[in-house]
Symmetry: C2
Subunit: 220 residues, 2 copies
Amino acid sequence: MTLSEEDYIKAIYHLGNGKEDPISTNAIAEQMETKPSSVTDMIKKLSEKNMVNYKKYRGVSLTEKGQLTALSIVRKHRLWEVFLVDKLDFAWDEVHEVAEQLEHIKSEKLIDKLDTYLGNPRVDPHGDPIPSKDGEFKKSVKKLISELPIGSKGVCVGVNDSSVAFLKFLDKNQIALGDTLKILEREDFDGSVSIKINDREMRISDQIASNLFLEILEKS
Amino acid sequence: MTLSEEDYIKAIYHLGNGKEDPISTNAIAEQMETKPSSVTDMIKKLSEKNMVNYKKYRGVSLTEKGQLTALSIVRKHRLWEVFLVDKLDFAWDEVHEVAEQLEHIKSEKLIDKLDTYLGNPRVDPHGDPIPSKDGEFKKSVKKLISELPIGSKGVCVGVNDSSVAFLKFLDKNQIALGDTLKILEREDFDGSVSIKINDREMRISDQIASNLFLEILEKS
DNA sequence: AAAATAATTTAGACAAAACTAAATATTTGT
DNA sequence: ACAAATATTTAGTTTTGTCTAAATTATTTT
C-alpha cells in the first residue's frame, strides 16, 4: 500500500461511516481536497487490488479487505493520538496532523508494542474507539450526560451551550475536553449528577449535565 | 524537503563522515541502492536548493544548509531509536528500519517533546551521539575499556574477541550491547577495573576490559 | 601521452499521482 | 418524459523520481 492509497482507503472509510451505501466520487474528491478525475484514477487502481467494489458511475464501497486495511490505519492513528496526549503531553486538539503522518509508519511490531506500552487503550483522546488488532471495535456514540444511565463512562467531547459562562464554569472546575468521566449517581429530585473526573468526585447540576457531551462505547 | 531529498542528504552526510572531501556520484548510488544517473538528477535539484555544492564530474559536498538539514534528520533518527529501545523495549539491533521511517515525520514540536520525554539523551542505543536542536553535537569515539581513563562513561558497542566463552561471560554477567557503563576505578596491580553497569557495580578483569568496546563522547 | 578503463552525465522513457478540458452518463425539475 | 443541471469518466499533460542506453569526461595503464 502506498501512502496515497492508504489515504483514499481511509477517506472512503470515514465517508462510509459504518453504512454500506456506496460513496460518490465527488464526496471523496472533496474530502481529499483533490479533483474528481484523480479520484476516478485511484479508484480504478484500488479496484484492481480488490480493496473497493466499483461500478462505473455508481460510486465505491470498501471490500472486506479494504475494511480491514482501513481499520488498521484507524487503529494506528488513534494509538498514536493516545501516545501524543498521554505521554508527550500534547493537547487533544493538536494531535491530528502529526497522527496523520505517524499512521503511515509500517511495522506491526511497533504498533503491538505501542499498544502494550499505552496500556491497551480502548478509546483515543477524542473518545473515538480504537479497533483491535483483528479489526474489531466497539461503536461509540455521543450523548449528553443527562441522557446517559448511571455507571456510564466516557470522554468529554463537546458542549451544547458554548456561552462564556458555561465554558468558564468548566474551566473553573477543571473539566476539559478529552477528560475521562464516569457517572456515579443521579438525584431524581433535581436531576443533578455526581461524577468522577480525573480521579476526583464532584456533583454537577442538571443544567450542566444537559450541556456536556460524552463519547461512550456502546454496551457490547 | 521531500522524503527522497532527505534520504539523499542523509546518505551524503554519512558518506562524508565528518570530512570535507566531495562525495562521488557512484558512492551515493551504491549507498542508496540506486543508479548513478538518478543520483545526478537529484544532485542537480539539491544544488538548486542550495543544499549541496556541486561541480560536474567533481562530486558533491553538503552546504551549511545541507549540514543542518542532515543533522536534524540524524537527531530525529537517533531520538526515535532511544524511544524504541527505552520505552517500547525493542532490541538495539531491531530499531534501524523503523527509525528510518520515523525520522521523516515533520513536526518540530513532536521532536522537542520527544526529546524532553526521553530525558534529553546524548547518545542513541548504539552509542552514537544525538545532535542538539541547533545542530551541535559531540563526536564519539570507540575504545576498549582498557584504554579509557577513570570516570569514562559510554555505551557497550562491540567486542574484540567474539569467542563463545567471552560472549557467555557477558551474558552470565548481564552485560549486553547497548548498555551504559561507567568506569569507576582501575587496579594498577592487575589492570582489573570496577564498573557501574545498569545501576549495578562489578569488577572485571583486564582480559575482559581489553575485549569490550565502549562508545564515548569526546570530552568537549 | 595515447589508449583503455572507469566514472559521470545526458537524452529519452516510464510509472505514480495529480491536473485540465472535453466527453459521457445520471439525476432533477417541470 | 425530456431538457437542464450535475456527476463522473476519459484523454491528454505535468511533476517527481526512477531507469536504460548512449555520450562525455576523468583516471589509470603502459
